[in-house]
Symmetry: C3
């Protein structure tokens, strides 16, 4: 069955010549060239990725891709992912990636967009004199975005131990933000205010809120990225009906599974754990399926840049899912549960067409 990849990022515009270091950079969060040079090749995840890409040596893989037509190569690998449609976050949009329009034209799979709160909010600072105006403008921006989901990367800029900021804190931090030449939202007061505003707007618009938790970005402090900190999103009576997708979650996947078991609107994926944590991601999936209903588990690659990453993440996650479900269910039930994880949960959560 063709899966819905409920969270991924745009491909890099082709043609381009991929280097070994750039390939490695897709299988680590680290930015430091010393990690790429000396350590990524010594991870279980990267070794396995090379094998899945058909060769033990990077050079073989890079040579094969360099010899191919880039569009055919990319679309061919995406096809082999077994993915039926992509929900794309263009929020971190380097110039080297396709724009949304280009992406739809170049990549053959059906695509939907996810709107990321923080960059939208940063673009609105210049025109908003007060935090109240700003929050209102952010909500309006989310409402008119045409996206199928809203995403927050508060975890890269603040703690996920959410609390509503005091108005005075928010005024102070917003005044400081206004003084920055290129405003960068950071700190608990601004980030949490945005998360609550986004959550309220999601309830109003019937959109799910994707929240980055656990590993996944070099800027974040993993100690502050535990999804348990989001509890107020699930217990605040003013947010009843909010649906939240916890992204990545590792190594807090048992905690994320707990939230899925407790609160009707909480969903999770392990996405990025597959290409980064290799064999341990499969173990994490089995641990998560202790508490997490399979009606709450979502499929995502969190891939970006190169089709190879899409392909490896998709293979890993599908194999891990099949193994985990086979441990706890008979064949027929495992197949049905797999279909829910790969397709049906996301289709219902994001209100996608029945044929997606």
């Amino acid at each position: 069955m063709r899966a819905i990849d409920h969270h991924c990022h745009p491909l890099r515009r082709w043609p381009f010549e991929l280097t070994a270091l750039e390939l490695r950079a897709c299988f680590t969060e680290a930015l430091d060239p010393r990690v790429l040079r000396d350590h990524v090749p010594a991870t279980a995840a990267y070794r396995d990725a090379l094998r899945r890409l058909g060769a033990d040596h990077e050079e073989t893989i890079l040579a094969a891709r360099a010899a191919a037509d880039p569009g055919e190569y990319a679309n061919g690998l995406l096809e082999r992912c077994g993915t039926g449609c992509l929900l794309l976050d263009f929020g971190f949009q380097p110039a080297e990636s396709w724009s949304p329009e280009e992406h739809r034209r170049e990549v053959h799979l059906p695509q939907y967009e996810i709107v990321r709160v923080e960059p939208l909010a940063e673009r609105l600072v210049a025109d908003c004199a007060t935090p109240g105006d700003w929050i209102a403008a952010v909500r309006e921006g989310l409402r008119s975005s045409g996206a199928v989901a809203v995403k927050t990367i508060a975890a890269y800029r603040a703690s996920l131990r959410l609390r509503r900021p005091a108005p005075s804190e928010l005024r102070r931090d917003y005044a400081e933000l206004r003084r920055q030449r290129r405003p960068r939202v950071a700190g608990n007061a601004l980030c949490h205010a945005l998360v609550f505003a986004a959550a309220e707007e999601c309830v109003r618009a019937g959109l799910p809120l994707q929240v980055h938790c656990g590993l996944g970005d070099p800027d974040e402090d993993l100690a502050e990225a535990n999804p348990l900190g989001l509890r107020r999103l699930f217990t605040d009576p003013g947010l009843d009906g909010l649906r939240v997708a916890l992204l990545h979650c590792y190594p807090y996947h048992r905690e994320a599974a707990y939230l899925c078991a407790m609160f009707p609107g909480v969903y999770m994926d392990l996405s990025l754990a597959f290409p980064l944590a290799g064999a341990d991601a499969g173990r994490a999936l089995r641990e998560a399926l202790g508490l997490c209903p399979w009606t709450k588990l979502l499929y995502a690659t969190d891939a970006s840049r190169i089709p190879e990453l899409y392909f490896v993440a998709a293979q890993l996650e599908r194999e891990a899912l099949a193994g985990a479900l086979a441990e706890i269910l008979d064949f027929g039930a495992a197949m049905a549960a797999g279909r829910q994880v790969l397709v049906e949960n996301a289709r219902a959560l994001y209100r996608l067409p029945a044929d997606s």
Copy 2:
């Protein structure tokens, strides 16, 4: 061998007609009807529970129980648990459950009572003008309760990062508590004061203190329910000799096992993890047996309301225990260790008669 179930709750008074939603509600902490309707049936734990109850479909199980004599049915399932006696917490006592007297009459197994601190303390607020009077009355209440253990559910109302409250905090929060029409103990000052008072009284009376940790109640914030926060109970020289049973613990079971390994008076169980976390509870048990001596591990179902839950939890835990011990010990040693976990540790901890 017949086990001592060192922590469970009263059965619902029969006869009553069990619905599918009520059955599901026993295999989740969630109260939300949407979770019961859409998600509990999609958990490994619930699927497994149905299978153990003899049918894939709830209707078959419900019809069989409806056709049976309720007392025979309940006592029959309890008999099949292999349980020799029950330590019962009546602290959360909905009107629909048997009272202690009724429970002893209707349920054939020998029974002992556990006294829960917080509801006892709430009943005493009206008669106590100051926090000092109140704490003294609570201690007197625990002393005269006739219970074999004291239990605290501080984790549902406060953080488990225990510290002794300042007298001024305690006075302020107690004054506020006195103003409530139906006093509800909550917040760190009141809850921690009660925990320390209960611990002191337990030392004095030679009773163990049961402390809820980890998952297990919709009111709690799991981020604040890590048993490591209880450290002061184990290091305070004034509490030397205190014996503590950490209840549930999941997903902080490695942390609980650490405390069991470090401090002579600390014991743990995984109880509720079995019916809730399914296959992952077995994994958690093996993880816990890394650091936790089997002289410190206790057996409990944490079951309540319906005998089916007792039965499923008992089966799961016994199987998981057998599997885990067989991995680390030869047959004879595993049998002896199993006997300690099922019977002997609890018999010694609660000072039960030799034939219990």
Copy 3:
């Protein structure tokens, strides 16, 4: 291949008669005699240790060692560890252990020293009037120590959630330290100031900093010993080039592995988890090899006092490593990765001679 044991402690001076309780004390962090008497024999780790020492009963082992020549016995067991050289922390130096000079004479393996910050700092308090003088003297002491690494046990005395103390805090706590008859460094201000000073000196001198994390000492609060709290050591631009070895890490080994994957200078071991957590340490190693490159994993026994502990820890860790690598790599790659963990990573990190 003969391993580099990158973190261990001196042997007790022989001859001495080992008692059963002293043997047990090597397989637990607990100091309480009730734990030694009643619970250590009921742990998977201790049972396994006895078996590896050749007997089910302590008496047999103790009798065999009592009948042997102590030096031959100790050196024979160390030889059987397959260890090629020892990096020794003499920082906690009870009178009953060999001094560094004696240790080199009595123990046949090549040895290097690790200098522990906190006792060095405590010895310098009397001669330093201000915190500035004291920190400078500590840095000078580390510089002139001749050690191959610097070690901090801040986790026994403070939280590992590092932050640079305010000068006023440091002055206040240092003044208090000066008033103590036998100065004992404790609390965040003093401990964190020392950690940052040691880190700066390590960068300057090209030495690695060993940091105790996770389980390992009865004084520590495990809740505060998560290596994620060390993040500032890895992100502070003034500490670029710092190399850190996270010691023990359990049960925060997935978190430690994350830091190894993210930051070029971070290394980890599981050392003490092997003799303490038994079978679960092997599981932890497999979990850690999810994110941790094998170029970042180090081999250590963290053994001390008796050669039996060296022997058991070495066997356990070698077997666990072989099993974990065989799961993720083919034979040739697993052998190469094993060589890196056992020898090459430590040789490069500590800049040891090529034949060590």
